[in-house]
């Protein structure tokens, strides 16, 4: 059914050449930007990880010296443990809590109320992330902050803690930032997933008497699987490389008890002026994320297959 004139055009070699060049031209901006701002820095990171240098000073080739230093760095390895803890915690809560809330909102009858609740849970996203961290650090976890004052008011003075400064509570307190973890766009994504379930499926479920909790597990969760996977991926990647929150919350303290690898890299780069070592840590993190991506890729495929079989 292809119109003849266009087929002719596609057959014309001259036209094809110009067409391909035109495509290249339109893609040029994209490719150039990526080359300059992503590929070049990546290449630079790999090279510079073999040097010892500071900004404004001279650089010196040290071979694998920076990588060897990993083994003598008493801060680096524990920081991976902290990262692992925080990431797995984040995965658990970000997959469950927002989904529950999205389901609750979705099961409200009136559209007006649903709209209202959606907006209500959007409040935490509209507050800049930095401000949220600063609020938790300065107002909630502070020694005389919301949490401790509330405990005092409830007569539980002995439960009060220096949440972020006590070595035994600092890490878990960091994980609890954002409690109950339902602000944010996860709710929206899950909500969209739930409203994307075709009516026929819902009606079939109703007919078979599959309602309430059972429906949630049997129908809803499998139907929002792709949303869950998206959030899972984003949370893991964010957990491995994210450290801005820690920088604001605790600066990795007390001691180095809440330091994550990214933060340690940042400190080496911008505070201690050890750019080469920082790049080496960056390469280490890249290897980790690369591994996770490969794993994820495999997992991805298999889950799609499962869906296909179903």
């Amino acid at each position: 059914m292809k119109p003849t004139d266009s087929t002719d055009i596609y057959r014309d070699r001259h036209y094809r050449l110009w067409f391909t060049l035109g495509c290249y031209g339109l893609l040029a901006a994209t490719v150039i930007l990526l080359t300059v701002f992503i590929y070049l820095p990546v290449a630079w990171a790999f090279t510079k990880s073999l040097y010892q240098f500071e900004i404004g000073g001279d650089s010196q080739f040290v071979g694998l010296g920076n990588y060897r230093e990993f083994f003598n760095d008493p801060t680096l390895w524990p920081s991976f443990g902290h990262m692992l803890f925080l990431t797995s915690f984040a995965v658990c809560v970000r997959l469950s809590m927002p989904l529950i809330v999205a389901k609750l909102i979705h099961s409200v009858r009136h559209e007006k109320w649903r709209y209202f609740y959606r907006i209500l849970f959007l409040v935490p996203i509209v507050v800049p992330g930095v401000a949220v961290q600063l609020i938790w650090q300065g107002l909630i976890y502070a020694d005389k902050g919301l949490l401790n004052e509330a405990l005092m008011a409830l007569g539980r003075g002995n439960w009060t803690h220096g949440w972020l400064s006590n070595p035994s509570t600092a890490l878990i307190s960091c994980a609890f930032v954002g409690f109950p973890w339902i602000g944010g766009f996860e709710v929206l994504i899950y909500y969209a997933g739930l409203s994307g379930i075709p009516d026929s499926v819902n009606e079939a479920a109703l007919l078979e008497g599959c309602v309430g909790i059972r429906k949630f597990f049997k129908i809803d969760i499998p139907m929002v699987l792709s949303q869950l996977k998206l959030i899972l991926m984003l949370t893991i990647i964010g957990g491995v490389q994210g450290f801005e929150g820690m920088l604001i919350l605790t600066k990795g303290g007390p001691g180095f008890e809440t330091t994550v690898p990214g933060l340690w890299m940042y400190y080496n780069a911008f505070s201690f002026q050890r750019m080469g070592y920082a790049c080496a840590i960056g390469v280490l993190l890249f290897v980790l994320i690369f591994g996770l991506t490969v794993l994820n890729f495999k997992y991805f495929k298999s889950s799609e297959e499962i869906q296909a079989i179903q």
């Binding site: 972020l164 400064s165 990795g252 180095f256 008890e257 911008f270 505070s271």
Partner: protein
């Protein structure tokens, strides 16, 4: 449905219009509070040849309300206006900068975008002197201040104007050059709540043991409800790592200085004020001889006493909000710097009397290494102004730069007594460092503290930032029972050795000279007890 859509559209347009109107930069920025901080980059007045950006720092930024109470500051704005009147070709732009954020400093200086005059702790400058980011003050300090009347101090040499030349000379970098002017002085003291002291029945302590007894009494004090309402003393993470460490260190090491002060007598002018001061090369050498590590009993003792002291303090050293605890009378004492005086003076809800004393000396009862000499000075320069590479952006050479001349001229103007008094004495927070400008009466106790001997070390500032960071964090962790004393000593030993290696790579010390001096002090050391084994060989 249609009406709703129209409403949505109209409201969006209204919001956008209002937003644009609000965000539109006003053509004429009034003297609103804080506006100076966010001063628009807008066009300077006609005929302006030099625009000098000046980051006056925490203490004097016009429009700021110190401690959030009372009226906003304006002293500096007046002085700047006077200067601009005097030199119509110069525009002084007051800018704000984050405090103690090194990333800020480094990126600004690398890109040559830093304000011409900035306010940083000069110890942070020492790290970077080899990078030509800062301009030396030596020539400025040795030249007359043109804004001082003939015959008055400063009319021959700027140095002569300085009230505390000793402490000011202590800001010389390791290369013995000056990179800052000490604009004012600050000293610490222990503020105490007289009402609580009366209630508990204690008085200002005479020595450290007495101090600990007082603290214990306050800690044990029980009110009618059966609670212990008071925290004896409020301390922060920095207080411990910076002030407390240097003070306690001096208490234990001052008596063995004849055996370890390797640079004694080398620089007479500096020696006058900085007697016994241990420089980085000396510390580096002494570390190799076993000092400041697990084999040095005095070193352990310093941290043991700190631990004991810390037990009297608030639960958290990092997230503490000591001002709040002190003004709400849940903390009986607060180790703070002089600006806190102002806060106490303006807080109308305070409702208690307060006083100030200095950290009392150790005695034999505290430790066998103590000799009872008074605690040394720990404060010093409060605000320090540095001139950055931006000031020589015209020629790139400090010798020929006209711009730099103007920047220097402005600093002279700022330090002339008639202007200085308007800025520093606008509120009683910092001590004057200029002869002829009186100390504000509420700050008199601090002025007296400053007359003590200068401290013999500055642990937080002698080595690279990695060492300071590790010391700060690990000390906090040790004091909060996160690690044991042995673990802590190991951390510091390791980081200190790394820091020494780094600094030696950059600037090798004169090992032979140090060794010679070390050998010559062997007889003195032979008489001392409990030094590391190496010290006796």
């Amino acid at each position: 449905m249609n009406a709703r859509k129209i409403f949505k559209f109209v409201s969006l347009i209204v919001i956008l219009a209002v937003g644009t109107w609000l965000l539109w930069p006003p053509s004429d920025e009034g003297e609103t509070a804080g506006a100076a901080a966010a001063e628009a980059p807008g066009g300077p007045r006609a005929g302006v040849k030099y625009t000098i950006r000046f980051s006056p720092g925490n203490s004097y930024l016009p429009g700021m309300t110190p401690d959030g109470i009372g009226s906003p500051l304006k002293g500096l704005a007046d002085v700047v206006a006077d200067y601009e009147k005097l030199h119509p070709d110069t525009h002084i732009e007051l800018v704000t900068a984050p405090v103690g954020v090194r990333e800020y400093l480094v990126t600004q200086l690398i890109s040559g975008m830093a304000p011409e005059i900035i306010n940083v702790n000069v110890e942070d400058v020492w790290q970077d002197i080899q990078k030509n980011w800062y301009v030396k003050f030596n020539k400025l300090l040795d030249s007359p201040n043109p804004y001082v009347k003939p015959g008055e101090p400063g009319s021959v040499r700027w140095w002569d104007q300085i009230k505390y030349p000793g402490i000011s000379r202590g800001t010389a970098a390791p290369d013995r050059n000056y990179y800052c002017i000490c604009y004012d002085m600050v000293e610490t003291g222990i503020y105490y709540n007289k009402n609580i002291f009366r209630k508990v029945g204690v008085e200002e302590p005479k020595d450290f043991e007495d101090f600990m007894r007082i603290c214990q009494k306050i800690k044990d004090y029980t009110n009618e409800k059966g609670e212990h309402p008071y925290t004896p003393i409020l301390l922060g993470q920095w207080t411990m790592a910076d002030w407390c460490l240097d003070l306690f260190f001096d208490q234990f090491y001052a008596q063995i200085t004849p055996g370890i002060d390797l640079s004694a007598g080398q620089d007479p002018e500096r020696e006058l004020y900085l007697k016994h001061y241990l420089d980085w090369d000396e510390i580096s050498f002494l570390r190799k001889k076993g000092f400041f590590g697990k084999k040095d009993p005095r070193w352990r003792e310093v941290f043991k006493v700190m631990y004991r002291f810390r037990q009297m303090a608030n639960r958290n050293l990092t997230t503490i909000d000591p001002i709040r605890e002190f003004v709400t009378q849940s903390g009986a004492m607060y180790w703070a710097a002089s600006p806190f005086t102002y806060h106490l003076m303006v807080d109308k809800k305070l409702g208690f009397d307060w006083g100030i004393f200095y950290m009392p000396a150790f005695t034999q009862a505290t430790s066998k290494y103590a000799d009872g000499h008074p605690m040394c000075v720990i404060g010093g320069p409060g605000t320090q102004y540095e001139i950055t590479n931006s000031a020589i952006s015209d020629t790139g050479n400090p010798e020929t730069s006209e711009r730099l001349k103007r920047v220097g001229d402005f600093l002279y103007f700022l330090m002339a007594p008639q202007n200085y008094i308007k800025v520093v004495n606008e509120t009683p927070r910092y001590l004057t460092n200029i002869i002829g400008v009186p100390v504000q009466p509420p700050l008199q106790p601090f002025d007296d503290f400053l007359k003590r001997d200068y401290s013999s070390s500055k642990w937080m500032f002698t080595f690279d930032l990695k060492f300071s960071e590790t010391l700060l964090r690990m000390l906090d962790l040790y004091l909060n029972d996160g690690i044991t004393l042995d673990e802590f000593i190991w951390w510091i030993e390791t980081s200190l050795e790394q820091a020494c290696q780094n600094i030696e790579l950059r600037k090798p010390p004169d090992w032979a000279e140090l060794q010679r001096s070390w050998d010559s002090k062997a007889p003195a050391r032979a008489k001392m007890k409990d030094l590391p084994d190496e010290a006796y060989r």
